[in-house]
Symmetry: C2
Subunit: 147 residues, 2 copies
Amino acid sequence: MYEQLKLDNQLCFRLYTAARMIAGAYNPYFEQLGITYPQYLVLLVLWEKDQQPVNDIAKRLLLETNTVTPLLQRMEKAGLVRRVKGEVDTRQRIVCLTPQAIAMREQAKEIPAKLGNEIGKYVSMQELQAMIPALDKLIEGLQQTNK
Amino acid sequence: MYEQLKLDNQLCFRLYTAARMIAGAYNPYFEQLGITYPQYLVLLVLWEKDQQPVNDIAKRLLLETNTVTPLLQRMEKAGLVRRVKGEVDTRQRIVCLTPQAIAMREQAKEIPAKLGNEIGKYVSMQELQAMIPALDKLIEGLQQTNK
DNA sequence: ATCATTTATATCGCACACGACTGAAATCGA
DNA sequence: TCGATTTCAGTCGTGTGCGATATAAATGAT
């Protein structure tokens, strides 16, 4: 009767838990670098393309600006980024990597492979890869719905 | 060279985002009930079996007690649970559903199906079901590693 | 029986996440 | 051109998550 309300039947709980578990597995590596998982995501975005306004970073990570702003402020305090006033559009704040954060890329380079090894002990890469299209469709769809 | 550090190549980012998106999709329903997603998870656990100590709930949700305790305190303040001293082991706090929370089960019954419809617009149930074994293996594996 | 260890819960501090809202700058429309 | 609207970034309040730590009760060892 309440079959649907059983925890074991809920895909969402698994996604929620898996995300936390992976973040936990990343943590030892991030600790060495003095960053957090969301800060790592910001670095990924900026390593791909430096000097982006807050909004572009937020959109890329599918986060709200009121999440990203404080995140960037903490990263600035930690010496990872600078936030300079936009010249074309003065409302914007352009986020730039510091030399320290640029150098950090070399350290971080090995992390995904290490995580991959860790996770690969438990799940085959094939199974993991197979999840990606479904996740992308889910994200794409709900992202529209939620706004 | 830094191919591994591209956001698009990261499974973890997708899990993290998908979990947030689904939570967002749940929110309209939870708002009506005056609960949050983690509180809903606690209710799922207690609807299955009432009167559990804090530790059992935490273990079931794979959360730390220092996450669950404040969660339960908020739920107690909201009139959803009572936390009574354990009689056998006085260190324990047995968490009990209030009549209000028991009644809420009827309201909540429809939620998973509604979410299923929502998500089903974008991803087939088959694809979603197919992810479950991989997620379970991943969670099981990392859960051990992370402690 | 008594002391050391373990266990159950809790507190504290910090870092997200997000809804609601604000202020200032850019843009749009008549 | 000039007032209305939109956009960008930000603040504030609330609710998680979790590492570190505290406290009291239960358990184990001698």
